[in-house]
Symmetry: C2
Subunit: 413 residues, 2 copies
């Protein structure tokens, strides 16, 4: 947790409404940090439907393995999240730690161990002492309350400089439902599934398979379209829980993601996921600039996304942005190295509304002053048109600053 | 050109022997820099055999296009290289600039324009004023001398902090031959063909097709195995010229790369290419540490190289190395995100001779002090064994420092 808040942080946080069917508590278990909370317990008193997407890393953390194994059961009663230790690359000890934590949680809440979900974030490779949970989960369950979203978001922070929360409402068959979510960043962020920890809860009554479809579709243009440093975590976890409490208001349960009654919910969920994902980028380690990169005219949407990420992950592009340098030549370089089809002589590039390059060379009416004015903004839109087809994609990233290097030069120690 | 020399620079430079058949001159044409040379002319008075490998960027520079077009002709008489402007993404103006430069060079040297080779390095996207060459190439041809390798290497520097030269000898059929080479870095360096500018000349008498085969094979474990910042240049050019002067000593011309008489030459060439490639890494922008990453036990050599580069290009690994932090968890992360097959529980990692992780967790005899002692070295070997197969690869990179950010935050302006 950093001393100073990112200059890109939201100017205000939303009032998070209570969400029926979920209770939360945080505690300071002393896993790594001092003088702050580092454990979050979420309790669903009635079984909740559950969906999850996880890192595509070939070296996933023990909690990711644990969640994947439980997901087919389709019922969630408790979620335990800790910061300070990722329980990743911890071998047999790591598996023992997830087993012990699940047992402690199941006893505290009174549910099956296969109804528990776990996530850990922090340093990789250090054994996690799960006995620290055993002592606190019972108390946490007793004190868990509904209106605790801000505190929940704080408990899972690592190098984050502000807690990330978002809320939306939607209607299903005329019944109002609410979606609340929290997330954490702020480094080892790259779009290869979830890219961090995020937990979203709704009181809607939606079956797990439908939830899974909604979540898998929603993650593409949100969490899977942000990158801080191109480094995909071992622990990326995004979970969506549906408590079903809206059934008390007459909401008829939705079984299929194809159900037309989900139109409003899907839009609200997608919007909330994008909100949280952008909050993660805005708190990228050392970030001073938010960059939205839109690629149009590519051969396909997939090609557009590869090119957009090649730009977003280029150290030379990111340092130029940090230096407020309208160095569009580096954008050309990043397009060229992406491996996707590009025709140099059809390429056009904009910083904000200022077209800086067209038809393979500097714009005839190029104005250094106009381009530099865009670079001085806090939020910088970059647009690249390839002139080849109809493929488009938008991704978000931040600049690469000396602070990123400083933060990561001694994060572990 | 930086004020202070990289701490990783070679402690001494080799005495570069004259090489029969090539003459060189440098000049200050005022393309961008002041008070330094920025043009190199190499002249082959007798037609030289020629080979080249170039960037795989989809947005290559105009000189790269020009060289590719001339290569099938197979004869080189002149090479013109400038620093300060890459003549990349310069559209029709860029093509006109290469045409004018080739014409000036052909008139100065007295050869065909298809016997001229061009390379430019520097800022992308600014039109290159090729009329600046016209005035200097005639004089340069008249004054060009043989023993000018250090000065040649200096003239093509951009953010390099030292000139990169190397020399080797070999024998072909009992006749001694010499190979001299120069190279420049120092950013926008990633292994996707050549990755910078480098020019190698030998007095051996070897036909162009054989040279091309030797060069294409030699670039894989040398220039294509180094990365400074994962950013592939638009201008990467590596060329090999054979003046054939050793024929005067009785060397019988070699027509085929399969000729067994090339054994000594191939070894010397490969060694020289590796020498130059490592000099490029040791002058990586802002570099304070040299890192050699060896991956063993992968499913294939190709998989090993992907994994090695995933580690070498990870900002989190590179910042940890800058911070002298033995953060092997980030190596695990980089293995996991590579997309190649890995079994977390078979993975072992060494820093130097210190095994820090084995069988999917921290080494039982892990010593923070021993690992940290390795990280304090200037040259840091990292080894990862995947325990899956026989695939191996070695790549080289440098750390990511605040100086890299500083250098690239205002390089253009």
């Amino acid at each position: 947790m950093s001393a100073s808040v990112s200059p890109l942080a939201p100017k205000s946080y939303p009032d998070m409404p209570p969400l029926r069917g979920v209770r939360m508590a945080t505690a300071a278990a002393g896993i790594k940090y001092k003088n702050r909370t580092d454990v979050l317990l979420m309790v669903f008193d009635r079984p909740a439907a559950v969906a999850g997407v996880f890192t595509r890393s070939k070296c996933p953390s023990a909690p990711v393995d644990f969640c994947r194994a439980n997901l087919p059961h389709g019922i969630a009663r408790a979620v335990v999240v800790n910061s300070g230790n990722a329980n990743a690359f911890t071998g047999i000890k790591g598996k023992a730690a997830t087993a012990l934590t699940a047992k402690s949680a199941s006893q505290a809440v009174g549910c099956g161990e296969n109804e528990v979900y776990l996530a850990s974030t922090g340093v990789i490779g250090e054994p996690l002492d799960a006995t620290k949970f055993a002592g606190v989960l019972g108390d946490m369950n007793r004190t868990a309350a509904g209106d605790f979203w801000q505190e929940a978001a704080k408990a899972i922070m690592t190098t984050d400089t502000y807690p990330k929360v978002a809320t939306r409402t939607a209607e299903i068959g005329g019944v109002k439902v609410t979606i609340n979510g929290i997330a954490k960043g702020a480094g080892m962020i790259a779009p290869d599934m979830a890219t961090m920890l995020s937990f979203v809860v709704t009181d809607a009554d939606i079956a797990s398979p439908a939830l899974q479809t909604l979540l898998a579709a929603g993650v593409g243009p949100s969490f899977n379209s942000v990158t801080v440093d191109s480094d995909t975590s071992t622990s990326d976890t995004l979970m969506l829980f549906a408590t079903g409490a809206a059934a008390d208001d007459g909401q008829v349960r939705v079984e299929s993601a194809d159900d037309p009654r989900l139109q409003s919910f899907r839009a609200a969920l997608d919007d909330l996921l994008k909100d949280l994902a952008l909050q993660v980028v805005r708190d990228g380690e050392g970030a001073r600039k938010m960059v939205e990169i839109t690629v149009t005219g590519a051969e396909s949407d997939a090609a557009a996304k590869v090119i957009a990420l090649s730009i977003a992950n280029s150290p030379l592009v990111k340092t130029a942005i940090a230096g407020e340098d309208a160095n569009w030549g580096r954008v050309v370089m990043a397009v060229g190295k992406s491996g996707e089809m590009a025709d140099r002589d059809r390429l056009a590039i904009w910083f904000g509304d200022v077209r800086v390059a067209v038809e393979g060379e500097r714009d005839p009416s190029y104005s250094e002053a106009a381009a530099t004015a865009v670079m001085r903004q806090q939020d910088i839109p970059v647009k690249v048109d390839l002139g080849l087809g109809n493929g488009t994609a938008t991704v978000w990233t931040c600049d690469l600053t000396k602070e990123y290097v400083a933060i990561n030069g001694d994060y572990r120690s």
